[in-house]
Symmetry: C2
Subunit: 107 residues, 2 copies
């Protein structure tokens, strides 16, 4: 299992809408997350920053992420979510949410 | 079980030292974290922001946090860590790390 922490900004005016749609995520999107071996997935907000935490239990992260990105319902979901977000300028090439570095862990 | 997400800033010049000491956290501090019913505790870094995620499995969070704060070794540890950190101006009264709001979760 590998833990992933990522960060992105949310447009202030879009925060309530973002929270609302995430309180009722589309079932197909939720199902695809599970099928792509992501568990214990949380998103937190403070001061315009969104932080996501999840655990990856599959064997090939890149392959599972490609599978998710190829799913048409997930694409539609992202088309709704992405305009609400503002990615960090410092994100790596190919990233939307910027991956963070794990600096501590205790089970 | 309740999940907690929190955020604080780290002074740029102190990041390497912070990572170093967290790679070898004092055993007494680690033990106290466990005794205070905190599990699956991670800290991530990006662009001067530290994000922490943990799960609380006890019955009285405030009581367990008070227990941790009363532990002399934990106090010494905090004396080392806190000068490296810069709390958010928007944190609530009594907070050091600012608690975030959970806006999404999927098991």
């Amino acid at each position: 299992m590998k833990r992933y922490g990522s960060v992105i900004k949310i447009k202030t005016k879009k925060l309530e809408e973002y929270k609302k749609i995430h309180a009722n995520i589309w079932p197909e999107v939720a199902k695809m997350i599970t099928e792509c071996n992501i568990i214990n997935y949380s998103i937190f907000h403070k001061d315009g920053y969104l932080f996501s935490y999840f655990e990856y239990i599959g064997k090939n992260y890149e392959s599972d992420m490609a599978k998710m990105a190829a799913d048409s319902t997930t694409q539609e979901w992202w088309d709704v979510c992405m305009p609400m977000q503002e990615p960090l300028d410092t994100r790596k090439k190919g990233e939307w949410w910027a991956e963070m570095e794990e600096v501590f862990h205790q089970d």
